[in-house]
């Protein structure tokens, strides 16, 4: 079987309206993929930056997959949350990006979005916080079922990932 290593970091996030952010992440793969070692999901620390408005997490990622097919190439899905001074958490954005298919080092910027509620919900969100969340978090990385969803743009998550492939050329796969 061919093997894929994804090694790198979730560096941080920028462009969000306030700091004190953290990120929940996970890697979704198709059925032919098997996780050999490493963590498939996790949650970063909460960063309160002092220098600029970029939250830095430096969260390490190191996963090792074996695969029998190319369908369902790994996707990284992210949820950015804000933690206020009372420890309450609020959703700030959803996003996903494909793990690059070419080997080597990649810097990725993952854009994020947030569901919008009705105007009453938006008004109450402005004053008391909170806001709508997805019931089914599969929607973050799936294209089906997104129609009629109202969203708005949020910030960007910055990643650095290295992709190492093994035995792909033995099966004639050019990546």
């Amino acid at each position: 079987m061919a093997e894929v290593h994804v090694i790198g970091q979730i560096v941080g996030a920028s462009g969000f309206s306030s700091s004190s952010l953290f990120c929940k992440w996970g890697i979704h793969t198709g059925g032919a993929w098997k996780l050999l070692s490493g963590l498939r999901e996790g949650q970063t620390q909460v960063d309160n930056p002092q220098l600029d408005d970029v939250a830095y997490w430096s969260h390490p990622i190191d996963v090792h997959f074996a695969t029998k097919g190319l369908q369902g190439w790994p996707k990284l899905h992210l949820q950015v949350w804000h933690q206020d001074s009372f420890g309450r958490c609020e959703l700030y954005g959803y996003g996903f990006c494909h793990v690059p298919s070419s080997p080597g080092f990649h810097r990725l910027d993952c854009v994020t979005w947030r569901p919008l509620g009705s105007w009453q919900e938006q008004l109450s969100q402005r004053f008391v916080g909170g806001g709508p969340q997805l019931l089914n978090s599969d929607l973050i990385y799936m294209g089906a079922d997104r129609y009629r969803l109202q969203t708005c743009a949020m910030g960007t998550v910055h990643l650095q990932l290295a992709v190492l492939l093994r035995n792909f050329d033995r099966y004639g796969v050019e990546a």
Binding site: G42, V46, Y56, P103, G104, R107, A162, L164, R166
Partner: protein
């Protein structure tokens, strides 16, 4: 030079480089410790696994960077890229009472492709989670620290930590790998002659 084995089982990762400089706008007179964190299949063959730099201060002139110019030189061997080594840095400096307190922790993976690379990594310190702890730590002049700096290279158990990022450290690396291709690993896109020729300019400070 020894003749390369026909069927290698291990690959080598040779790293040389330096901890160049740091930017900590609020602090001065800092020193830096480094160590490596790597997986079970990895072992260092030569070189120093940890070190402590000199204490450096900012130039009184225009320059606001702290310069260490501290060398790193180590070789690892492994059978599996999982657990690829990370360098963990911790920066310390005196507080107003002259006690050494931590000014930042940070970690980054050793670059994966042969060639020369530059990395700027964010540095952060843990924060107390409760107001009472914040007050007592201010009163006693003591700051929360990690008992083992190596936790910053681990992905587990970070959801309970709150941190404050307050600086950057710039590192430069020269990486040489051996036998990775023979073991079937592709680390750079096909048809690209040398990854070091591609622009690897760092943008981490600007992400």
């Amino acid at each position: 030079m020894a003749v390369a084995a026909a069927n290698p089982t291990v690959f080598l990762l040779m790293v040389s480089g330096q901890i160049e400089s740091a930017q900590f706008p609020q602090y001065d007179d800092l020193y830096c410790k480094y160590c490596f964190v790597y997986g079970q299949d990895w072992a260092p063959t030569t070189g120093l696994e940890e070190g402590i730099s000199q204490i450096t201060s900012k130039n009184r002139g225009s320059q606001q960077d702290l310069v260490w110019n501290f060398p790193i030189d180590i070789t690892f061997k492994s059978t599996n890229p999982f657990g690829w080594p990370q360098i963990v840095l911790s920066v310390y400096g005196p507080d107003s009472f002259g006690n050494d307190v931590v000014r930042g922790y940070g970690a980054v993976h050793i670059p994966f492709t042969p060639g020369s690379h530059k990395r700027t990594i964010p540095m952060f310190v843990p924060e107390s989670t409760s107001k009472l702890q914040k007050f007592t730590s201010w009163l006693m002049g003591r700051q929360p620290e990690f008992t083992d700096p190596k936790v910053v290279a681990q992905g587990e158990g970070r959801e309970v930590t709150r941190v404050r990022s307050q600086g950057f450290v710039t590192l430069s690396f020269n990486v040489v790998t051996k036998e990775m291709k023979k073991l079937g690993y592709d680390v750079s896109p096909a048809g690209m002659p040398s990854p070091s020729l591609a622009s690897m300019g760092d943008g981490l400070h600007r992400y």
